[in-house]
Amino acid sequence: GQQVMQIPQYQHVQEGEDFTTYCNSSTTLSNIQWYKQRPGGHPVFLIQLVKSGEVKKQKRLTFQFGEAKKNSSLHITATQTTDVGTYFCAGRFTGNQFYFGTGTSLTVIP
């Protein structure tokens, strides 16, 4: 079946360190979205990437879509305790639904 793999599953960082989570697919994606879910909360949309090689920034967050549109990454510079949560990518192939990655749970140690 169509799957989007995400690594790592867990990441613990000291406050101020950088963090990156990666999504990979064996099949070309049409577009990819990123969501953040705070502990006990619900997923909240962060961004969507559509074009090959696209890079978008939101303050300390940088999102990339690979040239082959088979992978994507989210990089957070100088993490803060407010960054704690689980980050999900959600990739769309050719159909009308997004397949969520397994998520990366980020813990930031003050």
Binding site: S30, G41, H42, P43, V44, F45, N96, Q97, F100
Partner: protein, 115 residues
């Protein structure tokens, strides 16, 4: 006002019972979804409706039956509950279909515990 609201937030019930979760969105969106999040936080789509019409029906036991009385509401009824149904169920909506890049707006979730 909550954009996507689900009730109940918590549901504890015995195996074999039948239960329903309700969802309403006041965003004027055309498409609504049900997702299941298991204990490992894996989010899996179950159903999607566009203008009250079922467009996605993933491999879900037929004990699960969605109903969309109008495009602002999508309810989920579960018959003969099993232990494995314990999860958090999220309702979501989007203005556009995923094929048109629609971003998902999630409700706060309904945590179902089957004993």
């Amino acid at each position: 006002d909550t954009a996507v609201s689900q009730t109940p937030k918590y549901l504890v019930t015995q195996m074999g019972n039948d239960k329903s979760i309700k969802c309403e969105q006041n965003l004027g969106h055309d498409t609504m979804y049900w997702y299941k999040q298991d204990s490992k936080k894996f989010l899996k789509i179950m159903f999607s409706y566009n203008n009250k019409e079922l467009i996605i029906n993933e491999t879900v036991p037929n004990r699960f039956s969605p109903k969309s009385p109008d495009k602002a509401h999508l309810n989920l009824h579960i018959n003969s509950l099993e232990l494995g149904d314990s999860a958090v169920y999220f309702c979501a909506s989007s203005q556009e279909l995923p094929a048109n890049g629609g971003e998902l707006f999630f409700g706060e979730g309904s945590r179902l515990t089957v004993l």
